[in-house]
Symmetry: C2
Subunit: 192 residues, 2 copies
């Protein structure tokens, strides 16, 4: 998606060869108009797929998930992060490994909000190793719902999580796919 | 706001005389159409106030904040929760007391995203004792921005945080104000 790629080139900040900061427009300060255009693109990709619900994970997946759900006119559910000592009842639960913080956390969704009749579109801001995405997929599997596809703002393709899941047959639609980020050579995208 | 009050009466779950669960439509599963109507109401209240930015706090304030920012066509910033051991640099920081978990946490906003030219509308899903709201107000004061007003989905008026801040002159616009919640007597609203 050209408008997103242009914005990444203009405002993305390379921290190191693994970390790109986009918090001026995507996940701290939010450019609402850009997010709405991104949701439009995801809607066009999945509009014929009878999606019934958007699923994301707190916190930075929520904005794009909300605007995407708005295009489809369907509910959005966000999985909550919990520490194990304070788990609510009647939830689907999955454990996620955070590469950023080298820690484990649990994500939960109340069992009332995912069911076997649902056709789910997962939305998130980033896809890197795919750990959070696999946690969400696990919640969907536990609920008996169908996973239709995944919409991602920025995929760090060089970390391989997206392609590993595509090889299993998953439809992952990423609006910008990074092939490399480096303080010297800058930001490179996978050629479309 | 009648449509929200009706929904609270229909789908709100009284846990005890302090806790009302509304996670089927407001802060776990999201009714996007309802949130958009709520944002419309907040927009109408503040449309003449030259708001430049919406400020909220992760995670459950984000949906209403996003749709409100969409109505104004302005950016939204969400404050992030942090543990003190892992604080980023160049942030405004404030400490918040969580009554729910009886704990303290820090909220931060990057200094790039609040400045003295901003006219801020704070949005959140709940207002109870006002601890999170006071934390956000403190961040705004540190930045030199102007606080124009506050838009809240559900105010637990019986916990007093809203009126204490109104007495200091703050414009707080709450879409539903609860006067009491109780397993026996049900949900009561403050009369408009």
């Amino acid at each position: 998606m050209e408008v997103l790629k242009d914005r990444i080139l203009k405002d993305g900040k390379i921290i190191d060869s693994n970390i790109l900061r986009v918090d001026s427009f995507l996940n701290h300060q939010l450019d609402i108009s850009l997010l709405s255009q991104m949701a439009d693109s995801i809607y066009q990709h999945y509009s014929q797929k009878d999606i019934t619900k958007v699923l994301t994970i707190e916190a930075s997946g929520i904005p794009l998930a909300c605007f995407t759900a708005q295009k489809f006119n369907i509910p959005c559910v966000f999985a909550k992060k919990h520490s194990r000592k304070n788990l609510p009842k009647d939830v689907y639960i999955s454990q996620v490994h955070s590469f950023t913080h080298d820690s484990l956390y649990d994500i939960v969704v109340n069992q009332e909000y995912l069911n076997q009749n649902d056709r789910i579109l997962i939305i998130d801001d980033f896809l890197a190793h795919g750990a959070a995405l696999q946690g969400l997929i696990s919640l969907i599997q536990d609920s008996g719902a169908s996973l239709v596809g995944v919409g991602i703002a920025i995929e760090k393709a060089f970390q391989g999580g997206g392609d590993a899941l595509r090889e299993k047959g998953l439809d992952i639609y990423s609006l910008a796919r990074l092939s490399s980020i480096h303080p010297d050579t800058g930001i490179k995208f996978v050629e479309d």
